[in-house]
């Protein structure tokens, strides 16, 4: 039985198949021991499904263990072995400060302090030739110096090792023989730019002990809970594919965006059920919001920054902003209304949760009546609207009424999120007009229509389980192995270049296929995609295009789309070759829901008075469980369900499809949509 678990900040969500239907279960997270919450959830699943004695368990985890260890600096004690003379590259970084106009700016501390950064006498030239050999004596010295630092893990990164890995291999071999957990740069990220590669390798070493412990604990507890049945634990990676627990323990840097990546995968599935090819995913939680653009496949980036440190392994291109339901609102000195990035967090939480003292986005919704009368989690979590109103009243400044202030807060929060969506769409040459917004996370549905309206998007898709979509994405994910090499090959003619790349691709593929075979996949279940990173000779940034066909022309076109010009007379070069090797998993499907006995309006749970556009209006209150395929209703409406609340503003219409997903669009836009 396959079970997917997403360990979030507040809840641990668990999705699995029960009698052929997807089921969701939420238990409170235990940030100090995430494995305990997982075990609790597994126990409940097992009880509910009445699992027979020895059924095997296939557990896939989305985890924030890596991100949190980085954010809170709770990783392992690490030493770094690097080329002598360059011990400080990790600390110097790119020599720039993160904020320009702030005398008190603070630079992120390196994960390895100077005393544990060890310089090795060795040097390679830009073409990989040996300038200074690595002697046997030096090798022994390095091991001794590492031993003196009392570390549990070691990162090894030498200049130009992506050209020639021999020195790194020798050092890694000696250190592994001495019993260390070793992360080696040419294995983790065989690409140029020494700081980014060192940083990524060091992060890997830093997370390795923490991740090993977490996965070991999860494995042990799962095994216990499953009383002897075979259990297999796997982990979601930041690139949207899953890997074995063993590999994740060795390459934890690949799991940093594990949870959010699950959300993107879930949203991609929801979009495919709805027949939408182009969507922007919008995952709004309590303190932050993740957005990603899905057009022609999943976009990945190698330029992520996490906790102030660069992480250069491929991750789904997910953009995060510090605005969520718990973001605090205030009026600044110059009279502007601002929302976030400070957050009320889980403690004290928004005012309407009973303890917060300052107005938040959630409080603004409460004041405007958007939660209906029942509170959250189907009434299990009551809200104190009066308290929210008092706090807003206290801080409303010159806003005439509390409602006006509340609406202002929502508009500013929307502006922040709109900017986030622009970063991943307009700023990269994609027009939101062509896209629909997939809204999920606890607060996604409360803002989605306003955002989609402001960006003139096609509409909003509200998937099933908005509160558990990440876990669903994880449940359906394939096993993915990304492999790459820097080649720096100038393209004289397309045919010749393709010939030269063929052998390199074969080697890379072999590597990926062997890794998947090790996880039990047969060749027929394995799919391979080949990519090349191309640029004009002289540029520093590459664009990834599919390696098949005329990849040079594909590059010119991609360059034109992104930067507004292409120069077909300039020579191009292939910087990296990449393979994505995928082992396809069996994928549980969302089941269809019954059709409505008669099309048209669904039953109402009640009538609310909510403020939209400055006016209190009679608003339909709809219980999502009572929706049937074919139901159609117009805003203003509030849709309540166990894990989320969705607003349908006036002028918008909602249609329920055969899977129970809801598509929302402005009435005025429906005709234009129909023509697309």
């Amino acid at each position: 039985m396959r079970i997917a678990v997403d360990s979030g900040g507040t809840f641990t969500d668990c999705v699995y198949l029960r009698d052929g239907r997807l089921a969701i279960r939420k238990v409170p997270s235990q940030p100090k021991n995430p494995a305990a919450a997982i075990a609790e959830a597994l126990g409940q699943c097992r009880a509910e499904r009445a699992v027979a004695g020895r059924e095997a368990l296939d557990l896939v985890c989305g985890t924030t263990v890596g991100t949190n260890a980085l954010l809170e600096r709770r990783g392992g004690r690490v030493a770094l072995v690097t080329t002598a003379g360059f011990e400080d590259v990790l600390e110097i970084g790119r020599q720039a400060r993160p904020k320009l106009y702030d005398f008190f700016v603070v630079k992120a501390e390196p994960l390895v302090p100077a005393a544990r950064r060890i310089g090795a006498q060795e040097r390679l030239a830009a073409d990989g030739a040996e300038v200074t050999p690595l002697t046997a004596r030096e090798l022994r010295g390095i091991v001794r110096r590492v031993q003196r630092t009392g570390v549990e893990a070691v990162a090894v990164c030498f200049l130009f090792s992506f050209r020639n890995p021999r020195h790194e291999q020798q050092v890694a071999g000696a250190l592994r023989a001495a019993g260390y957990l070793v992360s080696v740069s040419h294995e983790i990220l065989p690409e140029f730019r020494e700081f980014e590669r060192t940083s990524t390798t060091v992060i890997n070493a830093y997370l390795a002990p923490v991740m090993s412990r977490y996965l070991g604990e999860t494995q042990r507890r799962a095994q216990e809970m499953w009383s002897g049945g075979r259990t297999l634990v796997r982990v979601m990676q930041s690139n949207g594919g899953i890997i074995s627990a063993g590999r994740a323990a060795h390459e934890p840097v690949r799991t940093i965006l594990s949870g959010p990546a699950g959300g993107v995968m879930g949203a991609q599935y929801a979009a495919s059920l709805a027949g939408l090819a182009k969507v922007i995913t919008f995952d709004m939680g309590g303190t932050s919001t993740d957005v990603a653009l899905l057009g022609s496949g999943l976009g990945t980036t190698t330029e992520s920054i996490v906790a102030g440190l660069p992480v250069a392994v491929p991750m789904l291109e997910i953009h995060t902003v510090g605005a969520g339901g718990g973001s605090l609102a205030r009026i600044d000195q110059g009279g502007a209304l601002r929302v976030g990035p400070e957050s009320a967090g889980a403690d004290p939480g928004p005012a309407c949760y009973g303890r917060g003292e300052k107005p938040t986005v959630t409080d603004a919704h409460a004041v405007l009546g958007h939660f209906g009368g029942r509170g959250l989690l189907g009434g299990a979590f009551p809200l104190n609207t009066e308290r929210a109103r008092r706090q807003l009243e206290k801080f409303r400044g010159a806003f005439r009424t509390t409602e006006e202030f509340a609406e202002g807060i929502l508009r500013v929060a929307n502006a922040v999120m709109e900017k986030a969506i622009r970063v991943i769409s307009v700023e990269r040459g994609y027009d939101p007009w062509d896209y629909a917004l997939v809204a999920f996370g606890g607060a996604g549905g409360l803002h989605a229509c306003d955002l989609a309206g402001a960006l003139e998007m096609r509409g909003v898709l509200l998937p099933c389980f908005p509160g558990g979509l990440s876990a669903l994405g994880i449940l359906r994910a394939d096993v993915v192995k990304d492999v790459s090499r820097t080649v720096l090959l100038p393209v004289h003619s397309l045919g010749k270049a393709r010939g030269e790349l063929r052998a390199r691709f074969r080697r890379l593929e072999g590597e990926g296929i062997r890794a998947l075979a090790g996880e039990g996949f047969r060749r027929a279940q394995i799919r391979v995609e080949r990519w090349v990173d191309v640029r004009y000779i002289g540029q520093a940034y590459e664009l990834s295009v599919a390696a098949g066909g005329d990849f040079v022309e594909a590059f010119h076109r991609a360059h034109e789309q992104r930067y507004g010009y292409a120069d077909r007379l300039r020579r191009v070069e292939v910087v990296n070759v990449r393979c994505r090797v995928t082992g396809e998993a069996a994928k549980p499907e969302v089941a269809k829901i019954p059709r409505a006995a008669r099309a048209g309006r669904p039953p109402l749970a009640g009538e609310l008075r909510c403020v939209f556009g400055g006016r209190a209006q009679a608003t339909r209150w709809i219980n999502r469980e009572e929706l049937r395929a074919g139901h159609v209703f117009a805003g203003p409406a509030v849709i309540s369900e166990y894990s989320a609340t969705t607003l349908v503003p006036p002028g918008w219409r909602a249609r329920v499809d055969e899977y129970g997903q809801i598509f929302l669009a402005p009435v005025a836009k429906e005709r234009a949509n129909a023509r697309r």
Partner: protein, 542 residues
Amino acid sequence: MRGAKQLSGKRRSGVDPTRLEIFKNLFHSVAEEMGAGLRRSAFSPNIKERRDYSCAVYDGDGEVLAMGDHMPVHLGSMPASVAAARRALALGPGEIAILNDPFAGGTHLPDVTLVMPVYLGSEKRPQFYVANRAHHADIGGALAGSMGPAREIYQEGLRIPPVKLYEGGRRNDGVLAMFLANVRTPAEREGDLSAQVAACRIGERRLREIVGRYGAAETQRYAGHLLEYSAEMMRGALAELPAGSYSAEDYLDGDGVSGKALRIAVRVRIGKRAAEVDFSGSAAQCAGNVNAVEAITISAVYYVFRCLLGEEVPATSGLLRPIRVHAPTGTIVNARPPAAVAGGNVETSQRIVDTLLRALARVAPARIPAASQGTMNNLTVGGLDPRNANAPFAYYETIAGGMGARPGLDGASAIHTHMTNSWNTPVEVLEQVYPVRVRAYRIRSGSGGAGEYRGGDGIVRELELLAPAQAGLLCDRRERGPYGLRGGKDGAPGKNAQIRSGRARALPGKCVVEGFAGDILRIETPGGGGWGRERRKKKTGA
């Protein structure tokens, strides 16, 4: 509550605080997006790796509406470029001006600026401008890299007054050919210019989208509100400072010609919600290249006062409305032709900041850091590349140093401060592209000034030439270290040396060296000043 009172004042004039915040974000994202496009499509390491460029958005009168988070020295001085282009040319729709003349809207010759008007509908005059500036690694002149010692601007490279690079929607090939014929690495220059043009077009397109959505009238109204909003923020910050007159001075080591220290003097008068910054008493313009044009001085003042604002304020020209700057003509803070100016932008600008901070430390001691390295340690290397059929190459970089200690906080080490924020070139890029090898790149420990809070440490960088080459150094703070404050010790001054066959020879701060293959240049950058008297108990380096 003061914020509330101001707000109510504004509400009467019809400003919606929500919409104000929205437009602030919109204009800023235009500038950021222009920068991303420029970086990603540029060709020279100085732009694509080091990010030595800036982008900004202006209203129809040339007032700054938003600037990307790029290079402070560019951002405060670019309005002069837009003004000069507007003065000199009637720019029609689709036309783009190019310029670098320090005496007509530029700062120093390598910084090439493009200015493009944005016309809406059938309006007769532009409603917006977009502009970007990028530091080109060579602009011709006597020395590869165009940053070397010179006595007149004519020796520093090609000087471009505002002219049309795009005219009537088409590229002016004559202007381009003239430009490319005067520089050492024309192919790279042409690529970088294409990227700059692309950035302008990205800016234009985004502004059109904004106007398409909010309407021209509303967009312009809020552009005006943004200017007034930032001015109001600045007035509020000035009102919090005790009124009075505060002066200070500091020195540049010299101009590389006479070896005589050059004084920069400032008197800051803080009034009620306004300030006046007067540089009378600064040294007369000099024979060497550390002369700053007025735009740089204004830029430095702008930078310092912007940092005094605690909040994230939109970077508009409104910030300078309450501040008057007086820089007497014919001095190193407002030089006249034909002064050489390459170093004014990079070195004098830093010293102006140091001097101004020293004066402000008397007004707001808890908010002002000790002096940071106060130089950009400019290094140029040029010659013929034997690995590439002896094609000419020109490389430029600046090297970070120590940040001054802050009240309550040590200074950061190995970081760019104040007027620059350019990145380093990765060793793995540098050695791939140029015939050089980096021998060491490390933190210069112990160079930060001692104190209750320590100044940050500088950097040691060693570069080996793999072919004969001409190297230019333009560095300051080689004689006097960056000052400490409140009893904190000065940071260590920087040092330059040339190592040949194992023997090191000290080099002056500003010089040109004819290097052989195998020569090593060692540059040690200054540490930051300390803050507060060192306490016995405190462990050093904590």
